[in-house]
Amino acid sequence: MIPGKRRAAVMSFSVVIFGALMLQSVSSQNEPSITASEHTQLPVEGDMFTLQCNLTSAHSLHQESYWMKNGEEIPETRGLNRNTEYKLQKPRGDDAGLYMCVYTFETSPSANATIEVKSAPEITGHKRSENRNEGQRALLYCKSVGYPHPVWTWRKFDNGLYREIDNSSGRFFVSSRDNYTELHIIELDIGQDPGEYSCNATNMIGSREEKSVLRVRSHLAPLWPLLGVLAEIIILIVIIVVYEKRKKPEDLQDDDDPAGPVKTNSTNNHKDKNLRQRNTN
């Protein structure tokens, strides 16, 4: 090879290498890096738990930072520091979730880091008892808090054990979404459906369940009280009327009884009759 040409080749080769290295160092300098707290699991010791994010390197000054939980911005967390914190006071089940600290820049896209705060599910709402009539539809539901979102199962207490619900009649419908589940039962059957149902929430940390009682009223249920009250009323009316008829001959003239004879010794009979008619009521 001609010596000049070899030198040129080495030069261009080293320029390429150098350029590649430069590019790499420039691009790695462009990417901001954030150090964040570790993923953690509730419950934690102490009254407070702090999530921390530190913007360790950035090519330009960042604008501001804020926190997000489960994809939604947490209000009043915007700040200007590189080192940003979010404090959880006495963290409980509903504090669990996917947290993200976000740094915004003027000329480049924002950077973020995620911190997972996991916990076992806690069932916060359920219907303790449901009373429905035969043939109507019943709705049992359960709400929970915790992260990750649990898997829901419904079971029925049968013969001393919680079993899977037998849906051979096709009347049971389960709809679950994140932290909420519903069990619909249509065309309630008074023989088979009443009993204890339980909703079970399970995630990778733990599981919980709660019971609900379903009662089905028969169509004929109100009949007994109805007959009872009717009997009481008839007895009372009979007593009152009999008491009145007994007192009648003594000192009473019943205006409502046209057939009854007027028993007075007064010679003013005529006048009294007129008196009665004129002054009605």
Binding site: R217, I233, D256, S266, D272, L275, N279, N281
Partner: protein, 478 residues
């Protein structure tokens, strides 16, 4: 002594005895009439979900029931004038019962409007008027007491029905509850069976207006001839009224006292019920929790329950009875002042104090409401009077709460509604004071004139009697 107009009964009301059983019957009837529509609101949420309708549509059931109850007043009066209290109350009880039973099988909300609203409302009207009327026939001297006791039925039955309805609803659902309520309402029939028509001939001695005259002329058991003297007067009077009394007595519109009562009441009712309706929402608006807000209503009902008989007792005393209209005017004005001061109450303690005073005021007005009407027009015409009054009051009673609600929505603040209600009650109160002052003066004049006339006729009778001819005495009887 009560004005002369009320003593023309032609007989002495028993003022006791079976009268207290009648008061008990009236207690039940009045209680159901006022408390039943209010207690049905417990079922509204479930019915609303069942028929898939809005809240205002279900609230109409209550409004229709109340409207029918007030509109049925005149019909009730006509029937009472014709047949007496007892049959009307029993028919009313059966009507409400049938309405509830049919409603329990209803398939649409229209069925509920018709059954519970219209038929039920009319049935309750047939309970209310006769119950009030029959008290007037049984009591004269102790009438305010009897009225006060009978009107206590409303809070007592409400306090009983509210938890009972809740229990029935939990056990049987709304359909089963309506069925059972239909049978419970038949207790009105029991109450009606107690309302024995008063025996007008048991006590032959009538109220003697010229008592000195009677004392001189009736040495033997000659109270019967003097009764005839008075009954003749009544007969000639009632002859002219005979046809009119078959239907509604429109001549009441020429009666001074009745007109005063009517005008004042129409204005008053705009502001009467609204504060009760809005007590709990106002409490919640101030940040008080639901149970404490409901407890306010319980305090109100409890105070109301005890103040009604107390007011009746007070109205019966010899200081108040002759001028009972002033007592009523005071009660109405006191209501107004209470509402005007309500916005000053802050916090739960302030509202509790307000609830106590409001309960006092509400109870006083309720206990006296029909007593003063009886006092003005007399027991004869009371039936027609109350019928006319209720149908005319129908408007303000129905419009009052929605108008107040509109005020609250427009201003976003409850205090303007309370000011408005306060004014609506204070103005009639003052109106009553002024008008009754003049009315009493006129009535006293008329009383003096009537007494003068009676003295003259009495003297003539005495002259005839002192003549030794017995035949002449009997001739005056003819």
């Amino acid at each position: 002594m009560p004005p002369a107009a009320t003593t023309n009964l032609g007989y002495t009301p028993p003022d006791g005895g079976w009268g207290w059983a009648v008061v008990f019957g009236a207690f039940i009837s009045i209680g159901f009439s006022y408390a039943f529509p209010k207690s049905l609101t417990i079922y509204f949420k479930e019915i609303q979900e069942y028929f898939d309708i809005s809240y205002s549509q279900i609230a109409w059931v209550s409004s229709v029931m109340l409207a029918s109850m007030y509109a049925g007043g005149p019909v009730s009066s006509i029937l009472v004038n014709r047949y007496g209290s007892r049959p009307v109350v029993m028919v009313g009880g059966v009507m409400v019962s049938a309405a509830m039973v049919i409603a329990s099988f209803g398939k649409t909300i229209i069925h509920l409007y018709l059954c519970v609203g219209v038929i039920g409302g009319f049935g309750l009207a047939f309970n209310l008027q006769p119950a009030l009327t029959i008290i007037g026939t049984y009591f004269q001297v102790k009438r305010p007491m009897a009225n006060g006791l009978a009107m206590t039925g409303s809070p007592v039955v409400l306090c009983t029905l509210a938890p009972l309805n809740q229990f029935l609803f939990d056990s049987f659902g709304w359909r089963g509850s309506f069925l059972i309520l239909g049978s419970i309402v038949l207790n009105c029939c029991v109450a009606g069976s107690l309302m024995r028509p008063v025996n007008k001939n048991a006590l032959p001695k009538p109220e003697a207006e010229p008592s000195e005259c009677n004392g001189a002329a009736a040495e033997e058991a000659a109270s019967v001839p003097s009764a005839n003297l008075l009954t003749e007067k009544n007969q000639s009077e009632s002859k002219s009224q005979g046809c009119m009394e078959k239907l509604v007595d429109f001549s009441l519109f020429r009666h001074r006292g009745f007109l005063i009562y009517l005008v004042g009441n129409v204005v008053m009712f705009f502001g009467f019920f609204a504060p009760v309706v809005f007590l709990a929402p106002y409490a919640k608006h101030l940040g008080i929790d639901e149970y404490s807000a409901a407890f306010l209503l319980s305090i109100f009902a409890l105070v109301d329950m005890f103040i009604r008989p107390a007011t009746g007792l007070l109205g019966n005393t010899k200081w108040v009875r002759p001028r009972i209209q002033y007592f009523f005017s005071f009660a109405v004005s006191y209501n107004g002042v209470c509402h005007l001061l309500c916005p000053l109450a802050n916090g739960y303690v302030g509202l509790v104090i307000y609830a106590v005073f409001f309960g006092l005021a509400f109870g006083m007005v309720s206990a006296l409401l029909f007593e003063v009407l009886m006092d003005l027009v007399g027991a004869h015409r009371f039936s027609s009077a109350v019928g006319l009054v209720t149908i005319i009051e129908c408007g303000p009673v129905l419009l009052g709460p929605p108008l107040s609600g509109a005020l609250v929505d427009y201003f976003g603040d409850y205090k303007y509604m309370y000011y408005a209600c306060g004014v609506f009650m204070l103005v009639p109160g003052i109106f009553f004071f002024i008008m009754h002052y003049f009315n009493y003066k006129r009535l006293d004049e008329e009383q003096r004139q009537a007494e003068a006339v009676d003295m003259r006729t009495c003297e003539e009778a005495m002259e005839l009697k002192t003549s030794p001819d017995d035949k002449t005495v009997h001739e005056t009887d003819g």
